[in-house]
């Protein structure tokens, strides 16, 4: 296992130098095959650790479904690592694993703003602007609470973090659903030969191509 983690570390370093040397437009982050493969291998590593260490070493043995929580956190951590420290939300995930449970307070829903009436339209323009920016601020606050580590950011930074976070989440969903499909095929179908595994791999990876091909 150490050999594998060291090779993946080397892979990470090579990928980091490659991405730093080339121009990386924002649109291609989280969408390239390379990143899919990177995330998938990190995900598998993390899941393997969850399997071997179930019960001991997981961060929340007290919650009801400890394993699914551990799986979720492992997947999030793998996602944050794949971000390679580029974004605040990924750094926040990595640095606050243990206190994440405490910070999951019950969210008070924002009171609905009254719809604009004729009277309000008659009011001065500055007043209207202020009202609009207050609504905007409250929405921005909600957004800041959703994205990890972004509660006190300026508006443009928050928007940037949010768009990166959305793309990363989409990749996470794709990778995890591909993995789930493969595992459920293996589990639900016949206990089988490796041939079956290869078929399953080929069958599910046509669209997503996010799983490394089985050897």
């Amino acid at each position: 296992m150490e050999a594998e983690s060291s090779t993946s570390n080397q892979q990470r370093k090579r990928k980091r130098s490659a991405s730093e040397s080339s121009e990386k437009p924002a649109q291609s982050t989280w969408r390239t095959d390379k990143e899919h493969r990177l995330y998938s291998s990190k995900l598998l590593e993390a899941l393997r650790r969850v399997r071997s260490g179930s019960g001991s070493g997981s961060s929340s043995p007290r919650t009801d479904p400890p394993r699914s929580r551990a799986v979720r956190e492992a997947a999030d951590r793998a996602l944050a690592i794949s971000a390679r420290g580029r974004t605040r939300w990924s750094r926040a995930i990595l640095s606050s694993r243990s206190i994440k449970l405490k910070s999951n307070r019950i969210r008070v829903p924002c009171p609905a703003r009254p719809k604009r009436t004729e009277l309000e339209r008659i009011q001065s323009a500055a007043d209207q602007e202020k009202k609009k920016s207050v609504v905007l601020q409250s929405k921005a606050k909600v957004l800041g609470r959703l994205v990890p580590g972004c509660k006190k950011l300026s508006f443009p930074t928050l928007l940037e973090e949010a768009s990166d976070y959305i793309k990363a989440l989409e990749m996470q969903v794709k990778a995890m659903s591909a993995l789930t499909e493969i595992l459920s095929m293996i589990g639900g179908g016949t206990e089988g030969a490796p041939g079956m595994v290869q078929d399953a791999g080929a069958g599910t990876s046509t669209g997503t191509d996010s799983m490394p091909p089985p050897t």
């Binding site: 899941l47 957004l143 949010a162 595992l183």
Partner: protein, 85 residues
């Protein structure tokens, strides 16, 4: 949209907002160029929440599958070889 924003350039914000708009599927469908920022923020929050719910759901299923595979050694062998590749 408001005409004056202190300290933050309006252009920057518009750019980021259009970037977000292209990501969130709901507002892409509407195709409106001048979508209100508040509406977009709301759509963004909802989208992020639904994505996180999906990830939670998937990790539930994954943990069930992983628990199931612990019980069956033949499957566990296949999966172990898959996971270690």
């Amino acid at each position: 949209m408001s005409r004056r924003r202190s300290r933050i350039s309006e252009e920057e914000i518009n750019e980021l907002i259009s970037k977000l708009q292209s990501l969130v599927p709901e507002s892409r469908r509407c195709g409106s160029n001048r979508a209100s920022a508040t509406k977009l923020l709301k759509e963004t929050c909802n989208y992020i929440k639904s994505l996180q719910r999906e990830v939670d759901d998937l990790s539930d299923r994954l943990s069930d599958l992983m628990a199931g595979m612990d019980n069956n050694s033949a499957q566990a062998d296949i999966i172990r070889s898959l996971l270690s590749s």
